[in-house]
């Protein structure tokens, strides 16, 4: 498994920030704009971890997690949910869908890296 992370967010500035931070920490980053895009990009791409936003057009974060967990070979991939909705219900829903963890926006770059280190190499 490579050190490649897929970041899924409909906000370009968030993707840029996530990509910039993680590239700085030595990871490869692939970007996707929503759940559908993410599913299209994940197959065969040797992705080691997914960071996804919750609220997105086309396919939201929760649905993406459910879909990814059903894919062969991705049953155990770490998936972190990126969300501003820090209510427990959303975290719980995410966990039940199979999320490994979550990050509450706003966060600092070093917080992102520490969460990635927590669930990924």
């Amino acid at each position: 498994m490579g050190k490649k992370i897929l970041t899924v967010d409909d906000s370009a500035s968030m993707r840029q920030m996530v990509a910039f931070t993680l590239k700085g920490a030595g990871y490869d980053v692939v970007e996707a704009v929503d759940g559908k895009d993410a599913l299209a990009k994940i197959t065969g791409a040797d992705i080691g971890m997914i960071i996804t936003d919750l609220n997105m057009p086309n396919m939201d974060g929760i649905e993406l997690i459910r879909n990814v967990r059903a894919l062969p070979g991705l049953k155990f991939i770490p998936i972190v949910l990126l969300t501003t909705e820090s209510q427990d219900s959303k975290k719980k829903e995410g966990k039940e869908a199979g999320a490994t963890g979550w990050i509450v926006k706003p966060f600092k770059p070093e917080q992102l890296v520490s969460v990635v280190k927590k669930v990924f190499v």
Binding site: N55, P57, G98
Partner: protein
Amino acid sequence: MDAHKETFREEAYELLAELERSLLELEDNPDDMEQVGRVFRAMHTIKGSGAMFGFEDIASFTHNVETVFDQVRSGKIPVTRELVNLTLSARDHIKDLLDASATGNTVDKANASHIISSLNRLLTGVDEADASAEMQDIQLPSKTQATYRVQFKPHPELFMNGTNPLLLLNELRDLGECTVTAHTENIPVLEDLNPEALYIFWDVVLTTDKGMNAIKDVFIFVEDDADIIIDVLMEEDLYGGMDQPQPRLGEILVQHGAISDQALAKALSSQMRIGEILIKEKVTTRTAVAAALSEQSQIKKRIEQRSESTQTSSVRVPAEKLDQLVDLVGELVTVQARLSQKAAKQGDPDLVAIAEDVESLTGGLRDNAMSIRMLQIGTTFASFKRLVRDLSNELGKNIELTTAGGETELDKTVIDQLKDPLVHIIRNAVDHGIETPKERREAGKEEAGTIHLSAEHSGAHVLVRIKDDGKGLDPVVIRRKAVEKGIIPSDAELDENGIQNLLFAPGFSTAEKITDVSGRGVGMDVVKRSIESLRGSIDLSSVKGDGTTITLKLPLTLAIIDGLLVQIGEGYFVLPLSSVEECVELTGEQHKSRKNGNILNIRGDIVPYVRLRDEYDIQENTPDLEHVVIMETYGKRVGFVVDRVIGGHQTVIKNMGSTFKDARDISGATILGDGTVALIIDVNKIVDLR
């Protein structure tokens, strides 16, 4: 971080534009839940990203709107005109905040609180939304160092959500000095083993100054998936001493629940080492004792030594500068051209191969650098929807703006500089072009007027058209006005095209009275000049009663010019290829035998020509046969006489700098493959200057 801020700002402007589109859409179709979702998401992203990148004022203001739209989304608040208007003003306020963040200006706070209170009024009667923005507590490291025992017993299905427990143990190790003991006694025999289940659990002894919360944070994602017990074994003040006695193995085992007080007491009465006795007595397992022993040894070590706390640091990287990149690529293209020329001259096949590789790479790099600067014109188009809506409301007109070709890409600089002229043209169309509903009815037209904005590629150019179905231009009125203003003499002979071109003359305004909408002072002449400064051209056609179409012809990019390289005497010049129509020859005979000024007859067409030799006073080596490059300027054909036409030359434009600002007919310079400088001629200016 500043680069992120800039991206956020750009993104926010886009989102605001999208927001506006959705809101206007919503006004027409209040039940369109997809648009409601879009509005919510736009607000949500502005809030979330805003808070990330230090735009707290925007985040907290947007939060109010998001809250309302969350309720709209769940059907608790209906979409009304009031809501749309309010949200539009909220959108404008967010834009003001964004503008202010760039300029440092202050914004109208009263307006903001007015909007918020109006939004909150919509919320009353609805369940109180959780309005407190949750922020994560940041735990300050405690000054005191302590040793903890962490018992981490994950549930067997821990792997199912992608958790890797080893990473959590590593994280604990990062917190401080750490001893980990794995308990493997629950692993079943192979045939009963489920490879996807987790049977191991861990005892960890950790000495850290980060505090209990830091340890809890390690397990934050697995709180519900594991049994986690954290106990303080020993506390020490970093600046003071420690007073706890060294714990004994038996006591630790009792605390772990591995043995009972009685078993300990019994074992203590024996003379053997206590661990050995307990294992022999089968009151506990070897792993349990090992865990306890390691705990003991660590505490012992802690008492003997102190460790320093470590600090992580972050590095900031300066943002790349796109313009600088394009500049550098330009330089590279020049150097590459020199290399190719040198390689061709030397004829060394290896060098030629390298030069060809460099050429293709440079080409790719150049296209790439340029494409980074390309933007879709659609966002600019969309911003006019609001303009047309507001203006037509103000004037009591009913106007719809339709767009096409929004995906057409143009250089960012061109788009930026195009906006003002477009605003002006659209304002004119709304104000002077489209009639009032009453006038339209009387003219037998539909009450609602249409302004159609379109963009399309045309070779190296993009054509932007602004077409309205209004009353069109009245040549009689234009002529009368022009005579009144002394722009043309009263007996001037002008064809229809000539009359329409009067609109671009400085100081011309046809409006019966000057309105707020299209303003005064800035006329179409300014629009024309700004389009021409973009190396573009403007064309107008109008049919009285049917409407007006204005066509802007713009270059794809300002940084590169497709030129025709020509030679005059010893000097090289570049003519913009996009305006070149054809090249013809001019013999010395023809030139000398001319009667009425410099005029050529090309297949029956009379074309005036400019001899650049005369223009630049180049005397030496006049060839017998000169060449005339026929170019289109202001819709007319004009010839430019040169010694020799060398060929097409795609080149990066270098500015001449202020020293040469008086050389108005030279728009820039470029460096040729052998290092020679070629001047880029602005043919329109030459015609102007004559």
